[in-house]
C-alpha cells in the first residue's frame, strides 16, 4: 500500500484541481469564441446570400480561414499583432483568432440555412407585406435554423476541440495543463484520459442530441 | 418446374404464409392476385430464397431451395426476378447493368457477356439505350431493363413481383407487352399482379391469395367468371368496375 501510494504520488488532488481550472479556461475561451463567432458568422452568411459579387469576394476571404491550419493562424496573428502595435496576451490573441475562425465556418452554415429556405418562400413572405427584416425574423430564421442547427452544433463542437490549439500561445487551457502535468508526473495515460474524458463528456451528448434532433426533424 | 408443399413463413409472431401447396409445370404462366398483405410477394421471395422459411418445401427444377446444402446463388441463376421497384444499378450503363451478372456470375468472357446483354436489350426494345445511364430512362424503360437483366442469366423461370404497380399508368402497357412476349415464348412465370385484365388474358391459371392461403386457383375464365370463394367475389367486385 505504502509503496503504491508513493508511486502514484506524482499525480495528486491538487493536480486534479489544476486540471479542473484549466478545463474552465477551455470552456471560457470556447464559449466566447462560439458566441461571438456565431453572431458575426450569421451576418457574414447573410451578406454572402445577398449578391454574387459579395459571395465571391467575401467568400474567398473566409475561405482562407478554412484552408490554413488553425495553429498557423494562431502563430501568425500572435506575431503579427505586435507589428501593428497591438499588445495582446495569449487569451486575447487566441480568442480573436478563434472568433474569426468560427465565424468563417458559421458563415457557410448560415448561408446554407438561408438557401434552404428558398426564394419562393421568401417572395411569398414579402408579398404578404413583410419587410426585409420581418422576413428574416419570422420566415428565414425559424426555417433556416432548423435546416442547419445540426451543422452549427458540429461547428461549435469543432471549435471546442480546436480551442486546445490555443495552448501553443501559452494559454493554459486543459490540454496545455495536461502537457505540463505529464512532463512533471510521467502519468501520461492517466492525465490524457482525464482530459479526454472531459472533452468527450461535453461533446458526445451534445452531438448525439443534435443527430437525434436532425433525425426527428427530417421525418 | 416449381413445386411447393405445405409452405409456412413467419415474420416473428406474424404468420404470413399458412401452408401453401402449389405446382407450376414447365411453360405455365401463373398469376397471383389478392389484396395487399395477403402474402403474395412473400411467396416470391421464398421461392427465390431471399427470405428463409419455417416449414415446408420449395423445389425448383429438382433442387430444394431451402435445403441447407443448396447453393442459393446457383439456384437464383435459374430464376429471374423482377421487382416492384425497378432497381437498376445507377452507376452502370444500361448495357453494363445487363452484362454484369453474366460476366461475374456465369463467368462468361467480357465479349460474350456484352453480346448476351445486347441481345436481351434488343429483345425488350431497349436497343437504342445501350450506352445511357438508367437515370436517363423512364420508369417503364427501367423496368424493361430489369427484365432484360434477369433474362440475360438465361433463367428457366421468371418471377414478377408487382412489376407494374410503381409505374405511371401510361407506362404500364410497355412493360406488360414485354411480359406477354415472354409468355408467348413459353417462359415459365409467376406474376404477382394488380392488373386483372393482364392476369385474365395472359395466364394459364390464376391463384387468389387470402390471408396467407391460396383461397382459390383456377383457369382465368373460371376464376373471374364464376368465383366460388366469397372473399374472391368481394375482392373482384372491389377491383373491377
Amino acid at each position: 500500500m505504502e509503496s503504491a501510494s508513493t508511486y502514484f504520488s506524482g499525480f495528486n488532488i491538487n493536480d486534479l484541481l489544476y486540471l479542473g481550472e484549466a478545463a474552465l479556461r477551455t470552456l471560457w475561451i470556447s464559449f466566447w469564441a462560439i458566441s461571438i463567432g456565431s453572431f458575426i458568422g450569421i451576418f457574414l452568411g447573410l451578406a454572402l446570400s445577398i449578391s454574387r459579387v459579395i459571395a465571391y469576394t467575401l467568400g474567398a476571404v473566409l475561405d482562407v480561414f478554412r484552408s490554413v491550419p488553425l495553429i498557423i493562424q494562431l502563430v501568425l496573428f500572435f506575431n503579427f499583432a505586435p507589428i501593428i502595435g497591438l499588445r495582446l496576451n495569449p487569451f486575447e490573441a487566441g480568442l480573436i483568432v478563434l472568433i474569426v475562425y468560427t465565424s468563417a465556418y458559421v458563415a457557410n452554415v448560415a448561408r446554407g440555412g438561408i438557401e434552404a429556405v428558398g426564394d419562393p418562400m421568401r417572395r411569398a413572405a414579402r408579398s404578404l407585406g413583410m419587410t426585409y427584416w420581418q422576413d428574416l425574423r419570422y420566415v428565414v430564421w425559424p426555417i433556416g435554423l432548423r435546416a442547419v442547427f445540426p451543422a452549427w452544433v458540429g461547428v461549435a463542437l469543432g471549435v471546442l476541440k480546436d480551442s486546445a490549439l490555443v495552448s501553443i500561445l501559452g494559454y493554459i487551457e486543459l490540454l496545455k495543463a495536461s502537457q505540463i502535468l505529464m512532463t512533471r508526473t510521467q502519468e501520461a495515460i492517466l492525465i490524457l484520459s482525464i482530459a479526454g474524458a472531459f472533452y468527450f463528456a461535453l461533446s458526445y451528448p451534445i452531438s448525439y442530441y443534435a443527430t437525434r434532433l436532425e433525425q426527428r426533424w427530417s421525418e | 418446374m416449381i413445386k411447393i408443399t405445405n409452405l409456412h413463413k413467419q415474420y416473428g409472431e406474424l404468420e404470413v404464409l399458412k401452408g401453401i401447396d402449389l405446382d407450376v409445370p414447365k411453360g405455365e404462366v401463373l398469376s397471383v392476385i389478392g389484396s395487399s398483405g395477403s402474402g403474395k410477394s412473400t411467396l416470391l421471395y421464398c421461392i427465390n430464397g431471399l427470405e428463409p422459411i419455417q416449414k415446408g418445401q420449395i423445389i425448383v427444377d429438382d433442387i430444394d431451395v431451402h435445403a441447407s446444402d443448396t447453393n442459393l446463388n446457383s439456384v437464383r441463376q435459374n430464376m429471374g426476378m423482377v421487382f416492384q421497384q425497378w432497381n437498376s444499378f445507377p452507376h452502370l450503363t444500361v448495357l453494363e447493368n445487363v452484362a454484369l451478372a453474366p460476366k461475374i456470375v456465369s463467368k462468361l468472357s467480357k465479349k460474350e457477356a456484352l453480346e448476351v446483354a445486347e441481345k436481351q436489350l434488343l429483345h425488350v426494345g431497349l436497343g437504342d439505350k445501350l450506352t445511357q445511364y438508367p437515370s436517363a430512362l423512364s420508369g417503364g424503360q427501367q423496368q424493361r431493363l430489369a427484365i432484360a437483366r434477369a433474362l440475360a442469366m438465361e433463367p428457366k423461370c421468371m418471377l414478377f413481383d408487382e412489376a407494374t404497380s410503381a409505374l405511371d399508368p401510361e407506362l404500364v402497357g410497355e412493360v406488360l407487352d414485354t411480359i406477354r412476349l415472354l409468355a408467348d415464348e413459353g417462359m415459365t412465370m409467376i406474376c404477382v399482379t394488380h392488373e386483372m385484365g393482364f392476369a385474365r388474358e395472359v395466364s394459364d391459371r390464376v391463384a387468389f391469395f387470402h390471408e396467407g392461403k391460396i383461397e382459390e386457383i383456377n383457369q382465368p375464365e373460371e376464376l373471374f367468371g364464376s368465383a366460388k370463394s366469397k372473399y374472391l367475389q368481394k375482392f373482384l367486385s372491389k377491383v373491377k368496375t
Binding site: 501520461a188 468527450f200 | 432497381n87 452507376h91
Partner: protein
Amino acid sequence: MDYNFHWRPVFKSLPDLLESALLTLEVAILSMILGILFGLALSLIRIKMTGPLKWFAVSWIELARNTPALLQLFFFGFGLGAFGIHFSPFLIVLLGLTFNNSGYLAENFRGGFNSIPETQIRASLSLGMNSFQTYTRIIIPQVLRVVYHPMTNQMVWAVLMSSLGMLVGFRELSGETQFFASKTYRIFEYFAATAIIYYVIVKIILGLSRLMASRLFKY
C-alpha cells in the same frame, strides 16, 4: 509600425519548406488510405455486428470524433510511452491522423451505406451474385459516390491536422517552418509563407478532386 519585414531568408529556405510540404502530403495521403480501410471496416462492423467488436468500433468512432485531434496525437506520442511503446514523430502523426480519419470516415460510410436502398441488395442477390460480389460491384461503388465529397473534405482536414506534427517534433511543413522561424526569429514571415503553401495545397486537392469526380461519376 517600425517593424522591418525580412523575406529574404524565407525565399532562401523555400526549397526546404516545399520539400517538407511533400512530407505533409505523404503523411496526409497515407493516413487517408489507412483511414478509408479502417473506416470502411468500422462502419460495416457498426452496421452489421453486435457484441464486443461492435463496442470496440463504436468506441473508436466516438472517441475519434469527440476529443481533440491534438489529444489523440499526444496519446500516441506520450500516452503509449507508459507501456514502453515509443514511436517516431512520423509514426505518431500517422497513427494519430489515421485514428482520427477512420472515425470520421466510418460515420460518412455509415451514412453512405444507409442511403443505398435495401432493394439494390435484393436485386443483385436475385441475379445470383454472392454477397461479396454484391458489395464490391453494386453497393460500394454507389457508396463511394455518396461519400466522395465528405472524403475530399476529410483529405483537406488531414492536411490541416498534420500541422499538429510541429507539437510532437515532426518536421513536416509546420514543424520545418517552426524550425526555421526559431533559428532566424523571422516568425511572422515564415508562418505567412507557410500559410500560403497550405492554402495552395488545399486548393490543389479540391481542384483535383473535382477533376476526378467528373471522370469517375458519369451518371
